[in-house]
Symmetry: C2
């Protein structure tokens, strides 16, 4: 059973990112280390004791649809209620609307724990938080006054309605339409698919944010507007009125996260109300909906990255516990009676160290992204711009690398369990099933890689990525300067990996500058992986030196050496794959015919 | 829907392995190319038209247990009946007992196709074929006379009963016991778990091969004997008599291959017969059961390797079909109206090429293993020994590399489908679920890697592995000598990969010679991967030159170049990981505490 690794999370937050120093310097106002620790401990307790125990029933029962009504698994409604009663939904929400205004760093740490408890639970609030952010930044004061506080507290949940059958990664193809009523509202018509928590029994109302086209809107993504469409109309006194013309027509039968209802939503079918059309209110400007939606989406991408970290952590804990208990064979050097715990077999230990090191690397990458988001808010001018661009740069890596390793680690977890891993009751297979969605939703990992290469590497003429790489170099230098032997071999290997990252980065930048788009696009995925692995080696090493006297320092050092010895050498191959360019696919049309 | 790639299979059989030349030289007697082609075409038709359409219902209905009776999904019993009526079960079976005595090469090709149709179907006959082989090699003439023909034709199925709750990878811990009755039979007592097709409704009788200990048998694996335990007793006239004291007490609820009943089998519980004890007959000598079982197991390992190839092929076909149909965005250079088929996006094409190249590499590795098994039977003396050792060497690579890539390819297949990939009805997720067992059963892939390094590399003082690597070098030289440009860049990259393979091999051999077992064990898994990837690059290239005038040559060359550019560079990192030795795990105990 999952136990929140509060200590390691606190260490990563405070010592691998600059959060600890910023706290000491008073950058986060009244927030002090004691409060941070107390919040983490309580979040950890809630995730371990309240969420995790409901994950299995969530999977086996799943969400159910009956005549438009979605029922979540036994205990889940109460779980959500205790969770919002604990104030967790409003952790980072605006203080003016009942939120606690805490840093994103606290949010990602908590998100990690909720999702380790259950990915199917964690994804719901992620969307509400996205809706809060979009409303806060783009909605009118009237809309804010009516909806924001209840979304911040979690009394209502929010959803994100982008996808249509013909419009997934490509929102140009979006067809849902919005017709102005004349009174400032719009009638929305269309079908949306894959809507996470589009309908459920957690809350009395659900606030849908919906992308649709106005009449005569320009084609493509410049003709998309964002609307707020409540399930039930809300009176000026906050009371719930009539049902809006939107309903859930179907739930997907999915590989995993069964408790999370994935809905087909029908807008404007005439099922409710006097005349067809779901009534919506415009958020932000007409035809600027995509920009508003991206406010939600960027943070959702980091949140999905946290799902990768989260599932990896749970899988690792589970596999380690099993490997300590299960005995088979006699490991080299084993001097006990009978069979060894399988954790003593080198091949099993290699799997577990791989799992643990990838998890810690992805965690540190995601937390660094949250740090950049926080610092962008706390700083101004060039400094704010630099932090903001850093967050933009890291976001696709946080999303894609973390979710890729989430799946890899979950799969290794199954393998460590041997035959038991394939049996559903063991729970290892469920983690693999659950993990498989994260590389897909909120922009597939291929889209993330393309975003990284084509939109993020060029930021500030390449300075943004250069500054991040410079920090990895500083990590390598610090490792070299350390005389304790704890990081033996790390500096050389990290430096070699960084050299590969720089070479691949230069290749991508040149390809873009010279208009060789296909060369950049072809190698984007191996490039992102190269970036993620190099960051992993750097950040895991950084964690050792950041608190070299800690009782955990030896354990962290073993992980850092393992990462350097086993992940850093992969970068040479990734560099080759990333820089082969379009030549890699020459003749592919014939090969794939 | 799966269409058997008969042409590519025939090409790989005849031109990548030496089967074509051996056929021409009359090494396989009357068997000629026309008959080979006809059998492949008919097997392909059966797999595509009969098996594949029943895979989905197999998954959704699954096998069901009610009071000891197992019912397979709708249509499956009839499927099995048509399959044995087609003579497929006896393809390689001994001609004296109703088999067709065809080469193993034909068997693996057919196995690939059955398993592409359905892994849950393919695994059943695999065990029957193993039972046939064990009986043929080790059983008394009486047992052969009574059981062999019906197992060869498939009128009865066979099972393999090794695993017990405390004895999985480590059979030393086996507890099932056998008591001599005094009349040449034994009473068997014990519980076996994870017994594939241990109970079902396909056949009127089921012949269990069961490992158990005689009284006073030595401890460990030298005290294990193999017994034949029929579900129903068989009269001398072949008629079925009373029920033996064995039954299925439970079915596992698994991640995948739901139609394949995974049984807990109870022997000697007194449920059937006058007194407790399932009656069994000894196969081979007392206390030599493991050797007999290994006869089954080695070929079963290759057969499971074929499952990896099979699921990879199906997943690749499915993903390519989807990527041609689904349109999103505009790929660079796309000049059509509207959105591009996603196959034109470089990142999607990269995934598909990766899938296709890994599949073809694993196929060629497995077929090479079958070739070695066939040639070992057709040759004598040193030549036979060399072929036999080659089969031993390749078996763990065929099993582990193919099943690892089977899972990777199935997972990429989900990714290509985007959101639809996570929806069960699409079928891509089912392939991932099904594929996940193959790296586990018949010896986990970690066990395969250890077998490769510790038992196979030392064969004939290292000559066995050196000879195989020499053939890869010849492939590299042939690629260099080719002036057509079809294999541009392949020779250099393949040679670099081979150099890494040689260096890693030398490291492993030295570690073993110097008694540094932990060094060898720690790097075994990356070593096996290094071997598999190098073999993939060599064998895919070999396939191009073997039939350079074929209409498919350009497509094959594109795949060979892709493999060389993207897989060969991985070997440097794998060499580093494989040769870091036990140092890699220094401090792991603390890190995994």
């Amino acid at each position: 059973m999952y136990r929140a690794p509060v200590e390691e999370i606190a260490h990563t937050l405070k010592s691998v990112t600059g959060f600890g120093k910023a706290l000491d310097a008073g950058r986060f106002g009244d927030l002090g280390e004691d409060l941070v620790d107390a919040i983490l401990a309580e979040a950890g307790r809630f995730a371990s004791d309240e969420i995790a125990p409901l994950n299995e029933i969530g999977d086996t029962e799943g969400a159910k649809l009956d005549d438009g009504v979605v029922t979540t698994p036994a205990g889940w409604k109460q779980l959500y209620r205790s969770w919002i009663d604990g104030g967790w939904n409003g952790l980072t929400g605006p203080e003016d609307f009942g939120g606690q205004g805490l840093p994103m760093l606290m949010s990602v740490a908590a998100l990690e724990m909720w999702n380790s408890g259950s990915l199917a639970f964690g994804i719901g609030p992620t969307l509400t938080m996205g809706a809060v952010e979009a409303l806060e930044k783009h909605a009118s004061d009237e809309l804010k006054a009516k909806y924001l506080e209840k979304l911040v507290t979690g009394e209502w949940m929010g959803t994100m309605n982008l996808t249509e059958p013909q419009a997934g990664s490509d929102l140009n193809a979006l067809k849902a339409r919005a017709e102005p009523v004349g009174d400032g509202t719009y009638r929305i018509f269309g079908q949306k698919i894959f809507i996470t928590y589009g309908e459920h029994d957690f809350t009395d109302n659900i606030i849908h944010l919906v992308l649709a086209r106005l009449p005569d809107a320009p084609a493509g993504t410049r003709g998309i507007s964002l609307f707020l469409v409540p399930k039930f109309f809300v009176g000026d006194d906050g009371s719930l009125g009539a049902r809006n013309d939107v309903f859930c027509s179907g739930l997907e039968h999915k590989l995993g996260i069964h408790a999370s209802p994935t809905c087909t939503m029908i807008y404007g079918d005439g099922k409710f109300g006097d005349e067809p059309g779901a009534i919506g209110w415009l958020i932000g400007e007409e035809n600027r909906g995509l920009a508003c939606m991206f406010t939600m989406m960027n943070n959702a991408r980091l949140a999905v990255g946290m799902q990768g970290v989260a599932v990896a952590e749970t899988a690792t804990q589970k596999a380690i516990a099993y490997a300590k208990e299960r005995t088979q064979g006699r490991a080299p050097g084993f001097s006990g009676e009978g069979m060894s715990p399988i954790i003593q077999h080198p091949d099993v230990a290699r799997m577990l160290m791989t799992m643990k090191a990838l998890t810690q690397g992805a965690r540190a990458i995601c937390y660094s992204c949250a740090e950049a988001l926080d610092m962008a808010r706390l700083t101004e001018g060039d400094e704010a711009k630099a932090w903001s661009e850093r967050a933009s740069l890291i976001t696709p890596i946080a999303k894609a690398f973390s979710t890729d390793i989430g799946m890899e680690v979950a799969s290794l977890g199954v393998q460590v369990h041997g035959g038991m891993g394939f049996i559903e009751e063991t729970g290892a297979a469920r983690l693999l099933r659950d993990s498989r969605i994260a590389p897909i939703y909120e922009g597939t990992n291929g889209i993330q890689a393309i975003d990284l290469v084509t939109r993020k590497l060029p930021l500030s003429g390449g300075d943004t990525v250069a500054r991040l790489i410079a920090e990895f170099k500083a990590d390598a230098e610090a490792a070299r300067a350390d005389n304790s032997g704890a990081l033996a071999g790390v500096a050389d290997r990290l430096e070699a990996a960084i050299a590969d990252l720089e070479a691949a980065t230069a290749y991508m930048q040149a390809a873009l500058a010279e208009g060789r788009q296909p060369d950049a696009l072809t190698g984007a995925t191996p490039y992102l992986r190269l970036f993620g692995l190099t960051a992993t080696v750097a950040l895991v090493a950084r964690g050792v030196l950041a608190d070299a006297q800690a009782p955990q320092a030896a354990a962290r050092a073993a992980l850092a050496r393992f990462a350097a010895a086993n992940f850093a050498p992969e970068t040479a191959g990734l560099l080759a794959a990333a820089t082969e360019g379009a030549a890699s696919l020459k003749g592919a049309e014939a090969a794939l015919a």
